[in-house]
Amino acid sequence: MGTASTKAMTFKFEAIGTHWEIDTDAPLDMRLRASILVRVREFDRIYSRFRQDSLVSSVAGADEGGCFDFPEDAPPLFDLYDQLHALTNGAVDPLVGRTLELLGYDRAYSLKPATDDVQRYAHAQRPVWSKDVIRHGARLRTRRPLVIDVGAAGKGHLVDIVTCLLKRAGFRQFVVDGGGDLRNTGESSLRIGLEHPFSPGQVIGVANLRDRALCASAVNRRAWGHGLHHVLDARTGTPVRDVVASWVVADSALLADGLATALFFVPAQRLAEVFNFTYVRMYSNGRAEMSPTFAGEIFTRSKHETNLAS
């Protein structure tokens, strides 16, 4: 409430495969818009594994491996991956995606779920972030072709990077929304609907976000309803079935994004020992849990029964 009134301008663009909106209380001039777009494109050119000219594609194409210098935005991202990789016992792993694709994962899994052969082969062949990549700061060394997929935290990181640009330009009250992963900067609070992972047009709750980031992860984001989706457990190569959606509020969108993925694999308590965050997590049986200090509510039958009876 009240935030709609502060929202004066919205700058919209497409980047890294999603729709972005930036709400500001004053117009963004052409130069700032241009520098945002340039910065975002630069990020894409480094981290997009869908672009042949990206740095991660060079890493993927290096038959003998090699030494790759990432830009200075890389260490925070890779540091978080290091931590999440350790805390989830390897379930979060930027090297997970392509291995499974190369194995014909989709086909094998959907036609004959999780055959032992597929799993054994995947297990034997898969590269592991903590072993197959040697990293010093922004420099990565590899010994074979590796596909790095920063999907679990990259978008959040970019939301932070764009936030930084706006802060530097003097903006104090604004929202950066990178396709549903967002960061609200400033003192005014923003009510944000938590999208129902399986019912388009519905929300399962609301978060009140003030000067923090809120990121979501859900199994329906790609290939939904099928037992086949993008949240893969790197250790088994199978989709996670228990958790179906998660929302995390944290100081940075990078952290919120990464934790939203990690919550699919480990108890929140484990992550809470290391990171400061609040969360909502929804399971495949329709239960949802909310951390006690989460600023917001989830809609449950008991609370809203009367409203919905019709």
């Binding site: 919209k12 959907s110 609907g193 999208e195 019912s199 929300v203 329906n220 959606a245 809203h304």
Partner: protein, 155 residues
């Protein structure tokens, strides 16, 4: 009239549907400042001009590798999606299992509320890219374009 919009980007389409469907004041984000009562609109996409006729369109999209379908019904007016409805229909046992399970299990504990009944400024979550949805939208785009003008061979 030319509308600055990328009809080619699947993610854009999803996002804009999400925005217009919810019809929350302040969230509504038309493609462009579009004068109110057009009967059709012309979209310039990568040099090609396509005209979309107003009307209601239905298409079915396939998702996943096995035959599972969602049906998307979209109403276009003046180049904007003014309403959209998605129904799921699974024929493959795994999907059916999932859809049924979610259909019955979710409301028991977490209750989804229509977004327009909830006062929110933004949405966090997964309007990302259900591929079947985008496939259906692509068909609707074709239907709307061929019912419009320009592209020749009207049915």
């Amino acid at each position: 009239m030319k509308i600055k919009a990328q009809f080619t980007t699947a993610a854009w389409f999803t996002a804009s549907v999400a925005i217009t469907v919810y019809s929350t004041p302040g969230l509504a984000a038309p493609l462009a400042q579009n004068s109110a009562a057009n009967t059709e609109s012309t979209i310039n996409t990568e040099g090609k001009t396509v005209t979309y006729a107003d009307g209601t369109y239905t298409a079915t999209g396939q998702y996943g590798n096995a035959p599972s379908y969602i049906t998307v019904t979209v109403t276009l007016s003046g180049g904007l999606i003014v309403s959209a409805k998605v129904t799921t229909r699974a024929t493959n046992p795994i999907s059916l299992y999932y859809q049924e399970r979610f259909a019955t299990a979710v409301p028991e504990v977490v209750v989804g509320k229509p977004i327009d009944q909830v006062n929110v400024g933004r949405l966090a979550g997964s309007s990302g890219t259900p591929s079947g949805f985008n496939a259906a939208i692509a068909q609707i785009r074709q239907q709307a374009a061929s019912r419009g003008t320009v592209q020749g061979d009207p049915k």
